[in-house]
Symmetry: C2
Subunit: 350 residues, 2 copies
DNA sequence: GCGCGCTACTAGAGCGCGCTAGTCAAGCTA
DNA sequence: TAGCTTGACTAGCGCGCTCTAGTAGCGCGC
């Protein structure tokens, strides 16, 4: 079966099992033109049902699979959406999961590129563009606003979960204000007054949540209790913040609102290890309702974003930009809502 | 900085911002041939340092980025590895993270394809092949052994974390036996005798772990205490198994060894909610040491696999197959080792 | 003068496909 | 009969790149 492998100039061809059959092979097999095979595979009119049948049969027999790279190259539209996400971020993973079905519905193929510690977002984005993504969906990108705007000038871009002033890209996100507001209301309602916020620095969504926290505190007459602890959107960020609070002279707040779930989990981690009872001594609230927040062992009170709808809007926005039905710059926002679980409760007297 | 955006004939091509510059544009800009630009971008000898400089400068000015699709098409080797993983599986995410740097070192580009509920592995694999992956890395694939073998006949395939009889693919995995053995030894050492195993059915690695559990129990003279509860490799699987145990007439075991971390977390979840103290009433041990296992709030005793080395071996194996230095069918195994954390402890008297 | 070996560069044939602009026969109209 | 349409199929260019096989120009030795 496998052709002899003469160990040739070992760089040219990579271990040729059987050379991948091409459209021409299928056409030759049937004695028809390549174009006809192409028609059939693109499900275009212009071939009789019997011919279609024969083409598919021959293709299956030869093991022919259409070659995307060639297809992309040949056709103007690639119908490929590039998705950037952070592998570590469970909320991003949720988004990716939700993006697939919508993309498929609209006839788009997806190429994923993960930002991981060893590979920054710039590289990941280059890879997506290089693979001929027609449009990019960026899940909570952390690169500069300017870079995103430049990118938006080159091709349609949809940013998920981050606010930007740029009008060269579409933005799909949740209203952070009502969500954060609900968090503070909930905590105040439980009787908390010392409510701290571990923020996410300049990370996507973080500035808005921080502002919303401030506003909500003020409107509850708790302006003097505002306490913002610098953090970020990782477990480590939460851990560091928690250690900081434990070591601080100010003592622990009775409740902490974290800028995202991972950060909240970091807090949970350090507090639990330090023997701080959750929620008796400290209530903790996260943000995102990523799938691990719901795990009963974590059971995190958090703010749920409507992930399936976010995904649908994002893919739809990309599609609209690609079809040219409107200029980029749309801002789509969804409601988000508090999900009360086990990590928040009334404060105990001190 | 940004090149002028002529915003031309908005109908033909999808939303043509500025038509993507090509190599020819760069070449024309400098009055040289395309081939020369190609040389420079491929970092091949044959261009003077000054020319290189000028080429890069012009490319940057025009915003030129090499087009992968065309590059893949033109060159025999695509230097693209396709990676299949399950978005939900944190261990897979760890693997993906680890694969990136090694792949880059060997000059491979990566295309990711996620298996998600709405999109099975077959589709995900087709996508990878269609995007011209030269070789595939499959993280814990659940498709049939036969399908994998067929795939291996078409192109180099490396399977991670699953044992197969097929010799048409390479296999990179950890020894499950010593790991599982260590788990049982650890639990027996703590004084446990009623050690149950929630298995992963036929999922990757599960049969081996199940067998290893059985053997270890027997060798401790606990053959009559062997208790295998059907499960799978998801949180839901663990939750169902835990509910089953709680409802069972046999009562709870004093320790449960789960087939992977997610399953263990599912157990943890249901037990905690049911008021069962971990580890006082039931010790729980997982498998994989995925990054969430280490989160202090979960703090799961588990079996660590050497993810960076697994990744390195896998990419290396793919590379070897591609270079044709050996036939497929290699089986590479690494040691794994127990990581004791907070979910295991001595049993309490009943 | 010649050939020789270099370096720096170029021409042009593909890679596997999509797509436009056809051809060609068969069936209608009239 | 010509003139038109329609369905089934094909020729062949071009997508943006890589790569082989060159050429042009230079310094060198004899």
């Amino acid at each position: 079966m496998t052709p002899p492998n003469p160990r040739q100039g070992s760089d040219r061809t990579p271990a040729p099992r059987s050379r991948k059959p091409t459209m021409a092979d299928v056409a030759a097999e049937l004695g028809v033109s390549r174009a006809l095979v192409s028609l059939v595979f693109r499900d275009q009119p212009g071939a009789s049902p019997e011919t279609r049948e024969r083409v598919f049969e021959a293709a299956a027999r030869l093991g022919y699979k259409p070659d995307m790279a060639a297809r992309l190259l040949a056709r103007g539209r690639s119908k490929v959406l590039g998705v950037l996400f952070t592998a570590r971020n469970p909320h991003h993973v949720d988004l990716v999961e939700a993006i697939y079905p919508t993309a498929e519905e609209l006839g788009y193929d997806l190429v994923l590129s993960a930002a991981v510690p060893s590979r920054d977002e710039h590289k990941a984005i280059e890879a997506l563009v290089g693979h001929r993504s027609e449009a990019l969906l960026l899940c909570g990108p952390t690169i500069s606003e300017e870079d995103i705007a430049d990118l938006g000038a080159r091709l349609p871009v949809v940013v998920l979960g981050r606010h930007l002033k740029s009008t060269s890209v579409d933005i799909v996100t949740s209203y952070d204000r009502p969500g954060a507001r609900e968090v503070v209301d909930h905590l105040v309602g439980l009787g908390h007054r010392d409510i701290a916020h571990v923020d996410g620095g300049s990370r996507p969504g973080a500035p808005e949540r921080r502002r919303a926290y401030r506003d909500a505190m003020r409107s509850h007459g708790l302006a003097d209790r505002i306490r913002i602890i610098p953090g970020n959107h990782t477990e480590e960020g939460g851990q560091d913040a928690a250690r900081g609070m434990l070591a601080s002279d100010d003592g622990l707040p009775t409740a902490v609102f974290a800028s995202n779930d991972q950060c909240a989990i970091g807090l949970l981690d350090v507090f639990t290890r330090a023997g701080v009872k959750i929620p008796e001594q400290v209530s903790i609230v996260g943000y995102d309702d990523s799938h691990i927040a719901g795990l009963s062992h974590i059971d995190l009170t958090t703010v749920r974003q409507d992930v399936p709808r976010l995904a649908r809007l994002a893919v739809g926005a990309a599609d609209e930009q690609l079809r040219g039905v409107r200029e980029p710059g749309a801002v789509l926002k969804l409601e988000s809502k508090l999900v009360v679980r086990g990590t928040s409760g009334p404060p105990t007297q001190r």
